[in-house]
């Protein structure tokens, strides 16, 4: 029987080499950010011993940088840190509110949006918000870094494009122009400490007349992965994001959903509710853009 081990690399190179030598030796590794998924899994569904590679002690994964064109969020930054960053909150209120939905204050002291994304649950709350905001994953590996759009990062329930010797460094976001807004809403039967039955993130820009010139809509918990719904974005572009446009976007989300019936809800329920959430999140994003 193997044993648990713990590695704490302090540079990207060291982390990649820990992963590479373990892969070579046929040993299992798992990256550890806040551990709010990993520790739960270690005590329940996946108890097999493995080497945990802590990603929190690398400068790059802790970096938050707000540039004039671009925002970078390191993969290990806890959502509690993001929530307290007023500048970031003003730029991406929807993304930050999605991070603020995770767990509780205690959980947020640890939980990262990088971990949320890499855990790759269909119901991960920040994922639709990251996709809507146009997030691009920066991935470190033996041959340097590569970039993958967030909507292409996920490959299935709990799976993503990361290879054995790769890990997520962080996410790049294009900085939205003036009159932009984003929003994320999820539905849970409780008020907190729950997992999304459906979720929708909307990010949009308006022109000076209030016409929508750009919109991205993503949905969660209604398919094996979070999905970008181009048709929903298109339904908003060129409109004043009025009730009719929102209804059309909501209908596009419902049409894009391919949920299952499970303990959290039926197919019919999820299809209907994801449309409702898209409408409601779209209205919030619009109002935020108008308030900008």
């Amino acid at each position: 029987m193997g044993a648990y081990a713990y590695a704490r690399p302090t540079s990207v190179e060291e982390a990649v080499s820990v992963l590479a030598s373990a892969a070579e030796a046929g040993q299992r590794t798992q990256m550890l950010a806040g551990g709010t998924d990993v520790l739960v899994q270690m005590r329940s569904v996946d108890r097999d011993p493995r080497t945990l590679v802590d990603v929190k002690h690398i400068a790059e994964t802790n970096r938050v940088e707000i540039g004039s064109d671009e925002v970078f969020v390191g993969a290990a930054v806890p959502s509690g840190v993001l929530n307290e960053n007023e500048e970031l909150k003003a730029i991406f209120p929807g993304l930050i509110e999605s991070a603020d939905l995770i767990g509780s204050t205690q959980i947020q002291g640890r939980a990262s949006i990088g971990g949320n994304l890499c855990n790759s649950s269909p119901a991960g709350d920040t994922i639709p918000a990251i996709i809507a905001a146009g997030g691009v994953c920066v991935i470190a590996g033996p041959s340097g870094t590569r970039e993958v759009a967030c909507e292409d990062f996920l490959t299935g329930v709990g799976t993503n494009v990361l290879g054995d010797t790769e890990f997520l460094l962080g996410m790049r976001f294009p900085r939205p122009p003036a009159r932009s807004g984003d929003a994320y809403l999820r539905f849970i039967p409780r008020t907190e400490m729950d997992i999304a039955v459906a979720g929708a993130g909307v990010a949009l820009h308006l022109d000076a007349d209030g016409n929508c010139v750009h919109a991205r809509v993503a949905i969660g918990a209604v398919a094996p992965t979070a999905l970008l719904v181009p048709a929903a974005g298109e339904a908003l572009v060129g409109t004043q994001v009025d009730d009719a446009a929102l209804a059309a976007a909501g209908a596009a989300c419902s049409a894009a959903a391919s949920p299952i019936t499970d303990k959290r809800g039926t197919v019919e329920y999820r299809i209907k509710v994801v449309g409702v959430l898209c409408r409601r999140a779209g209205a919030i994003a619009r109002d935020r853009a108008l308030g900008n």
Partner: protein, 753 residues
């Protein structure tokens, strides 16, 4: 109303004696005990909801490094006989087979074998090496399926009510009560409402999983540490499963992290003792949350039909009910109490109720706060709500018009002594949450609740220390603050400050017998024993004082914690305090110890009226509770804040049951949501502050007027929620839970969407 008493301690809300230890983590709960050389036990559970067990082979597990014992049903005595004494009832044989399956696995999660190993991880891996040959049988998953003609039989030897002249059946028993001429009374009614309702399988949801440690000695005696609602019951149940004498077992209760009825039974203890016997080492067993859901005490899902007939003025002429309860894999659903409770708030000359105890391939149900009553009264209180709407009558007025009273013959037989249903209804009517008009889009619901409460056996000792401080020793694990209540009653009786009294929950060898902390009996029955033991102390103190003063004991009074000569007795002495007498005890006859043991009679029924305002999101089906008011007769509230805590906790549990909690099964009978993520008990932010109003109609059978208060609070919230949602939506959804998917589906059905 209650006559005013000049109590000093009773009715206050001091900090509980066990409070600091519990909030600092110093208190020891079921899983906290560790012993040298201790092993960890784990249970192999059936992956099938219904299967014949052809063979169990533990030999490969035993070969694994670090494994010290592996056992299965074959290691336990077969053919145990007799009935279980106590609140839950049932037979020893069923209990024994529930602890570990013999020839059949009857639910997904049913224990089949167990191992003890050096670490929990090794024990888990060893379970994978146990070979069980199953013949999988079709599962029976609800009462309708179980009662249908030609249903698969769960137990081929089970006959309804034991009548072997009839074919075998999944219906273990039928209970019937009837009074008056029901058909005639329905015929006389101006109006009849009828409803058909369902409630889901729900769990008590205690936060602490079951845990125990056992150590077996070579002389054939075992000690068990465990979290339980009653260690004397653990002792007798474990002894009967193991086929040993209660004298061979000592049971030490830990602190308990919730039970709600679910810890009045045993699961792990006989396995831990047997594993310890085989391995020769102490064995600790701790369930995971998943195991708690899959294999311990849910309460019955039900299917019911209720019919109520009334005159135009609101007088109920007749009521009838048909209620089928799921028992799980063995007989023993709370059908009797459910059928006895359903009409309890009302003075009904004519009624009929029929209840069914029905086997299904689910875990054996265990007691859950007011067992059986929430489901039955959910149906009746929903029908009464519909009746009020049909009559266009205020739902409180309708209930007041038909309410039972002192002298009314209860539907379940006895004549009611003083009861509080009317006082509760009147308090509800006057409550600001009722008199305030409801807001836009808000639905308001109201319902009554009831529980019998029980007495049963209790013992208590009260010991006086040399400085006059007092130790109360009794045998009821403290779940809801009973140490504080015992101390308050002792302080009141002795006339000393609460802070000078400590309460200790003794193990099976250090205190006299007490039945479980259940049935809302502890403050009533054990409290009565504590009061009597204090009176014993007072009598002895009077004797000591009399001897000191050289007068007769009956010339001494006990006032405000002091012995004083009676008025008119001509002696020139200073009063002797409890501390004076205790300090001098060595010179006046030795230590002072009071005791009492009793079988308490006259547990007073506790009635309640609850109401709530809710809103419903018509696009998502989500119900939000805006406010909730719990009104209940406590007889006398010994510790006010803990009575309120019981009312609030019961309200929250009942609302969870009404709104979201349910076992979700797949077609093979495997529970899909065996964890708190998807078995949704409410979280704090889901709930408004629960407003409370304590009514006090003292129970004449208790020295301070106590009625049990622990169970009634969960009864009314199911129908309160359903009636409020009915009010908000304009139509009734008869099946619980009123979870968002269910509510939205009902709205869509209604609107043809």
């Amino acid at each position: 109303m209650a006559e005013a008493h000049d109590y000093k301690a009773i009715g206050t809300s001091p900090v509980r004696p066990d409070g600091v230890d519990k909030v600092t983590g110093r208190a020891n709960f079921g899983a906290d005990l560790n012993l040298p050389n201790m092993l960890h036990g784990k249970v192999l559970r059936s992956p099938h909801a219904h299967a014949r067990i052809r063979s169990v082979d533990v030999s490969r597990a035993l070969e694994m490094d670090g494994v010290y014992a592996a056992i299965s049903g074959a290691d336990f005595p077969s053919g145990a006989e007799g009935d279980i004494q106590g609140e839950g009832g049932g037979t020893v044989s069923d209990l024994a087979q529930n602890i570990v399956a013999r020839d059949k696995a009857l639910y997904h999660g049913h224990p089949v074998a167990a191992v003890a190993a050096k670490t929990p991880y090794i024990a888990e891996r060893a379970l994978d090496l146990i070979e069980v040959d199953y013949e999988v049988l079709p599962p029976v998953l609800d009462v309708d399926e179980a009662m249908a003609d030609g249903a698969t039989l769960i137990n081929e030897n089970l006959h309804t009510n034991g009548d072997t002249s009839q074919p075998a059946s999944n219906v273990a028993g039928i209970t019937k009560f009837e009074r008056g001429d029901v058909d005639e009374a329905f015929a006389e009614a101006d109006l009849i409402v009828e409803g058909e309702y369902r409630t889901p399988t729900a769990h008590q949801g205690y936060i602490e999983p079951h845990a125990c440690t056992a150590t077996y000695s070579e002389e054939g005696k075992a000690t068990i540490w465990c979290c339980t609602q009653g260690h004397f019951d653990v002792r007798s149940l474990t002894a009967s499963v193991l086929g040993v004498s209660v004298g061979d077992l000592k049971v030490i209760p830990s602190e308990i992290g919730g039970g709600f009825g679910g810890k009045t039974v045993i699961y792990l203890e006989p396995l831990a003792v047997k594993l310890s016997e085989v391995s020769g080492r102490p064995v600790k067993m701790v369930m995971s949350r998943e195991e708690v859901f899959r294999a311990t005490g849910p309460t019955s899902a039900t299917h019911s039909r209720v019919k109520v007939g009334a005159k135009k003025d609101g007088t109920i002429t007749a009521a009838s009910a048909w209620i089928a309860y799921e028992a799980g894999a063995f007989p023993g659903a709370p059908v009797g109490p459910g059928c006895m409770a359903i009409f309890a708030p009302y003075d009904l000359p004519n009624f009929r109720v029929e209840g069914f105890d029905v086997l299904v391939n689910k875990p054996k149900v265990a007691a859950y706060r007011a067992p059986g009553a929430p489901q039955a009264m959910y149906a009746m209180e929903s029908a009464v709500d519909d009746l009020a709407r049909e009559l266009d009558m205020d739902p409180i007025d309708l209930r007041l018009m038909n309410a039972a009273d002192e002298g009314t013959q209860a539907p379940y037989g006895p004549t009611f002594p003083p009861i509080g249903i009317r006082d509760c209804l009147q308090a509800a009517k006057a409550h600001p949450n009722y008199t305030t008009p409801k807001g836009e889009g808000v639905g308001r619901g109201i319902a009554a609740g009831f529980w019998f409460n029980i007495g049963m056996q209790s013992s208590a000792e009260v010991r006086l220390s040399e400085d006059g401080t007092v130790t109360v020793v009794e045998g009821n694990p403290d779940i809801g603050g009973t140490r504080a209540s015992m101390c308050l009653m002792a302080a009141e009786t002795l006339g000393v400050p609460y802070e000078t009294v400590r309460a200790h929950v003794g193990d099976t060898e250090s205190t006299g017998f007490c039945n479980v902390t259940g049935g809302s009996r502890t403050t009533f029955a054990t409290g009565m024993a504590v009061v009597q033991a204090c009176e014993d102390i007072i009598a002895q103190c009077k004797q000591r004082a009399a001897a000191t003063w050289d007068i007769d004991a009956d010339q001494v009074d006990w006032t405000d914690g002091e012995a004083v000569p009676q008025p008119g007795v001509n002696v020139d002495v200073q009063p002797l305090s409890l501390a004076d007498i205790a300090g001098n005890a060595g010179r006046t006859g030795g230590p002072i110890l009071g005791r009492a043991s009793l079988n308490a009679q006259g547990a007073g029924a506790s009635f309640s009226v609850n109401m709530a305002d809710v809103t419903v999101d018509r696009e998502t089906g989500k119900v939000d509770v805006v406010n909730f008011t719990a009104i209940q007769d406590a007889g006398t509230a010994i510790h006010r804040a803990y009575v309120e805590g019981q009312m609030q906790g019961g309200a929250v549990q009942g609302l969870g049951w009404a709104l979201n909690e349910e076992y979700v099964y797949d077609a093979n009978g495997e529970m899909e949501n065996a964890g708190f993520l998807d078995y949704r008990v409410p979280v704090t932010s889901d709930m408004p502050m629960i407003d409370t109003h304590i009514v006090e109609v003292p129970n004449p059978s208790h020295p301070y007027g106590v009625r049990g208060v622990g169970e009634t609070p969960i009864v009314a919230p199911l129908s309160v929620a359903a009636n409020a949602v009915r009010d908000a939506l304009g139509f009734r959804i008869p099946d619980l839970p009123l979870s968002p998917p269910n509510v939205l589906a009902a709205i869509d059905d209604r609107e043809g969407a």
